[in-house]
């Protein structure tokens, strides 16, 4: 089936897969957002225990999606993997370290004799929630704003210095935080995941105090999210983008490129607008005190997040656009054509991708089975496995 597809089609297919994984990742980072709120919404130890346990049953999905997102990028677009990870060394390390400490924090937090004390593990969760979201958002913003790197495949033949990809800024990725647009996306991801975390608490925990504080925090986090999101979106719509000449692959700056992409891809525009509306619906329903809808607001906002992020990935990679632009050497910019794996590998991987719906189905089934009943104080005292 996939063998007969052209390389262009396969590259587009894999950009869609990457976009889906990236969108699911941002949605699932409600775990990280929620982690930053455990002291804000949980004022007592039993309340914090409920919050941590509601998130603790899902943290591995986020973690696994991050790892799979990385693996899929490696398999489908290895030049991005080698250029970005090897070049922006410090920003990726700064993202990975918080995920290392998160992975033990849930399991170790409430165990006796855990060396560091339960508060340290809670701070591990907060650090992961803060840095993980902020830096992933900042790193993804460079898909639009660019980074200083060069790629020269002929360097492989230089026996004294064979590195193909070279980062041209000594800060090795940390310089991204000096661009306000990058930081704006980082902060909007941070506040969005906090909004999603709050909605998740409302969806899964049966406790009046948590519900009341969640509603209060919803507004406090939704407003900065909207400000930073609109700031970032507005900025990329009006700035020059990195266009690709379809014939020879030459990369050149094009004014209003991302705005043009939005208009020239009506389906993406529709997804983007629907996504934004759904996120807004997810935020406003609980604030309007529609109790039943308030509980499902998490899913509205989650679906909206998925569609919006998906649309952003499409804007970055489709319609003859360089998805990882180089501000040092424009022609080194990465496109889905010049950075992808071979036809054979993309074909083989495409067959594997057919497993994705099956994976989503069993995740959904297991999620429903575990979340069939809301978490409450009584369950925390039952003596079953708890974090």
């Amino acid at each position: 089936m996939f063998e007969t597809m052209s390389i262009d089609t396969l590259q587009s297919y894999w950009w869609i897969i990457i976009s889906i994984l990236g969108s699911i990742l941002v949605f699932l980072m409600f775990v990280q957002g929620g982690q930053t709120l455990i002291y804000t919404i949980g004022k007592t130890e039993p309340e914090r225990k409920m919050l941590v346990n509601s998130l603790g049953r899902k943290w591995e999905f986020t973690f696994t999606t991050l790892v799979t997102f990385g693996g899929a990028f490696f398999a489908a677009f290895p030049l991005f993997y080698s250029t970005s990870f090897g070049g922006a060394y410090w920003v990726w390390m700064a993202i990975l370290f918080p995920f290392i400490i998160q992975a033990v924090a849930y399991e170790f937090r409430s165990k006796p004799n855990n060396l560091l004390g339960h508060k340290t593990y809670e701070w591990f969760l907060i650090i992961n929630g803060l840095l993980g979201t902020l830096l992933i958002g900042t790193a993804v913003a460079t898909f639009f704003t660019g980074s200083a790197f060069s790629v020269n495949k002929s360097a492989l033949t230089n026996l004294l210095d064979p590195a193909i990809s070279r980062w041209q800024n000594p800060a090795h990725g940390l310089e991204a935080v000096l661009n306000w647009r990058n930081v704006a996306l980082g902060l909007s991801v941070f506040f969005l995941t906090r909004v999603l975390g709050i909605l998740y608490f409302m969806n899964t925990i049966d406790n009046d105090n948590i519900l009341t504080r969640s509603k209060k925090q919803l507004l406090f986090n939704a407003i900065p999210f909207l400000v930073f999101f609109l700031g970032f979106t507005g900025a990329i719509m009006f700035m020059p983008g990195f266009a690709v000449e379809p014939g020879d692959g030459t990369i050149f700056p094009e004014p209003f490129k991302y705005f043009h992409n939005l208009l020239q891809m009506p389906l993406v525009l529709a997804m983007f607008l629907t996504g934004v509306v759904l996120v807004l619906a997810g935020i406003t329903l609980p604030l309007l005190c529609i109790k039943k809808k308030g509980s499902s607001a998490f899913w509205y906002a989650g679906a909206g997040t998925f569609l919006t992020v998906f649309a952003l990935f499409c804007l970055a990679g489709f319609n003859h656009t360089a998805y990882y632009p180089s501000t040092f050497d424009l022609q080194s910019s990465l496109t889905i054509c010049n950075s992808s794996s071979s036809h054979y590998t993309l074909t083989a991987m495409s067959y594997v991708s057919l497993l994705v719906p099956f994976v989503i189905a069993y995740i959904w089934y297991a999620w429903k089975a575990i979340n069939s009943k809301k978490i409450d104080a009584a369950e925390m005292e039952e003596g079953g496995h708890a974090y």
């Binding site: 591995e60 999905f61 973690f63 696994t64 991050l66 790892v67 799979t68 990385g70 490696f74 398999a75 290895p78 993997y81 080698s82 970005s84 990870f85 090897g86 070049g87 060394y89 990726w92 390390m93 990975l96 370290f97 290392i100 400490i101 998160q102 992975a103 033990v104 399991e107 165990k111 006796p112 004799n113 855990n114 060396l115 560091l116 495949k153 492989l156 033949t157 026996l159 004294l160 210095d161 590195a163 990809s165 090795h172 794996s341 071979s342 054979y344 590998t345 991987m349 594997v352 497993l355 994705v356 994976v359 069993y362 995740i363 297991a366 089975a369 575990i370 009943k373 079953g384 496995h385």
Partner: protein, 525 residues
């Protein structure tokens, strides 16, 4: 030539990968084996309905969970490190190597992460059978994960199913099945997962032995010992069988690694297998010194195990450097079938391949068809030695012989000891005499650190023994490393060392406390 490359960057990048991989490997074997043991115990519970088995299952499941978490924590960096620290490698072979990593994520990690939540939180939320299925799926997910990462690792040791593309300056996959079912991959997978099963079995037997010594939870201990020693004995036999298979593959595909494993400098026909030996510390390739201060060997056994022929010639380190012998190993180019080339000659051919690639790319830019075809022919002819171009001396293909030799022998001795231990424990358990043998119970506890030592030693053999190659014959470490400052890698090395050490101490303290609390409290914290 190599002196122009930042050696400190290469060494620190190697050290960081070794550090993170070895820390990760402390936890993975227990996850692989204990997941299956827990699923077996739960199967007995579901079949018998006996609540004692549920208690036993939940106790070991608690220990599994603690170990699993830190395994995940130490694992994430490994995947991304291929990009962060070995970016040239990531491009040169990403077309092949990335696929197993992605498949691992899609096929295995989601299975594990989804069903482990059901395993721990689903006791009162899902049916008994669904819970049992979740336990098995978690164990299967962990083992599937091992399959794909080991396929990727095996491919680095024995690159098959690919072709170099001079336009993209990388290797590209042409046969997925050749990569998945390469004999190196099959043996490596079976050998590695069975080492995990043995690790978990030793762990369960050792912890249970402690309960018996303390005369606490004796029913749990006895039942756990029976399950673990049956599982341990059968899988340690599989471990030995696949160990032989793996060593055979090494002899056929990585003769230098085999020579290092055996401390063999001067090759010979009818070579013996070293039973006990102390290497001469100052020994260098080609210096004519005796390689061993003391050595006891099994005559002809190395030739037999490595070539299935007791009279076969096994080349040593010096032979592989100098060439001039008839290779008996299979992974050899047609040009070398009758007379092995020296490394010096291979370096010349590697440089020819690199020069041909330069010429090809120039011709392509100039659209000179004749030159393109000539360059391509030259490149294809010499590509098998491409990686040799980056070497500065023939001696640089020799791995660290003492580390490889001692690690290999330690692993083998301990592997044989585990078979003996499981046999004795199982026999005495069947006679209900184990509780009275306090020396054996103490020995079983002391064996827990030994199984970790054996497991780490196995990976040291595999990874130190293949140096300097990142991809056998095609890319040495110096050509694979990212273009970053050594100081950056030194800082991250220290950070990883500190974080992982602190987390390891925390994990051990929690684990020991949970064992002391025993099954009544197991699963409740």
């Amino acid at each position: 030539m190599i002196e122009h490359i930042d050696l400190s960057l290469i060494d620190w990048s190697r050290a960081q990968f070794a550090l993170t991989a070895m820390y990760h490997w402390i936890f993975v074997p227990l996850t692989l084996g204990l997941g299956i043991l827990v699923a077996i115990m739960e199967s007995i519970y579901v079949r018998t309905g006996n609540p004692e088995w549920k208690q036993i299952t939940k106790f070991w499941m608690t220990l599994f969970g603690i170990n699993f978490a830190i395994g995940v924590a130490t694992g994430i960096i490994l995947e991304f490190q291929f990009g962060t620290n070995w970016s040239n490698y990531s491009w040169f072979v990403g077309d092949i190597f990335g696929a197993p990593l992605a498949i691992e994520g899609i096929m295995a990690f989601f299975l594990e992460s989804t069903f482990i939540a059901v395993m721990f939180f689903g006791w009162n939320k899902v049916s008994k059978r669904f819970h049992l299925a979740a336990s098995w799926l978690t164990a299967i997910g962990a083992n599937l994960s091992a399959l794909w990462i080991l396929v990727a690792n095996a491919w680095m040791q024995y690159p098959v199913g690919m072709q170099f593309n001079p336009d993209t300056a990388r290797n590209e996959m042409v046969d997925f099945w050749a990569i998945l079912f390469s004999p190196v991959a099959v043996n490596k997978f079976l050998h590695t997962v069975s080492s995990g099963y043995v690790t978990a079995s030793v762990f369960v037997v050792g912890v249970s032995a402690w309960f018996l010594l303390k005369k606490r939870h004796t029913l749990l201990a006895k039942r756990s010992i029976v399950v673990a020693s049956i599982f341990g004995l059968s899988t340690s036999l599989l471990l030995a069988y696949t160990g032989d298979g793996s060593a055979f593959q090494v002899s056929q595909k990585q003769p230098m690694k085999l020579a290092a494993m055996e401390g063999l400098y001067q090759g010979k026909s009818g070579a013996g297998l070293v039973a006990i030996g102390i290497l001469t510390p100052s020994k260098k390739p080609g210096d004519g010194k005796d390689a061993f201060l003391v050595k006891v060997e099994f005559p002809k056994l190395l030739s037999f195990l490595g070539y299935r022929d007791p009279e076969a010639f096994v080349p040593g380190v010096d032979d592989l450097i100098k060439g001039g012998f008839k290779p008996g190993f299979k992974y050899v180019h047609a040009l070398e079938k009758d007379n092995a080339m020296s490394v010096e000659e291979k370096i010349v051919l590697g440089k020819k391949a690199v020069a041909a690639l330069v010429s090809y790319r120039e011709a392509k830019a100039a659209k000179d068809t004749t030159k393109i075809n000539l360059s391509l022919a030259e490149l294809n002819q010499n590509f098998p030695w491409f990686g040799y171009a980056y070497l500065n001396s023939p001696q640089s293909i020799v791995p660290n012989v003492p580390i490889t030799f001692y690690s290999f022998h330690l692993m083998v001795y301990l592997g044989l000891y585990f078979i003996l231990l499981f046999t004795v424990v199982l026999y005495l358990s069947s006679k209900n005499q184990l509780e009275n043998k306090r020396w054996l119970l103490k020995l079983a506890i002391l064996t827990i650190p030994l199984v970790y030592l054996a497991s780490e030693a196995g990976w040291i053999v595999a990874e130190v023994g293949r140096q300097p190659w990142v991809i056998q014959d095609l890319m040495p470490a110096m050509a694979a490393v990212s273009k970053i400052e050594a100081s950056s890698v030194i800082i991250t090395f220290i950070l990883f060392a500190v974080i992982f050490t602190v987390l390891l101490i925390a994990e051990l303290m929690i684990m020991i406390k949970q064992i002391k609390l025993g099954p009544k409290d197991g699963g409740t914290h």
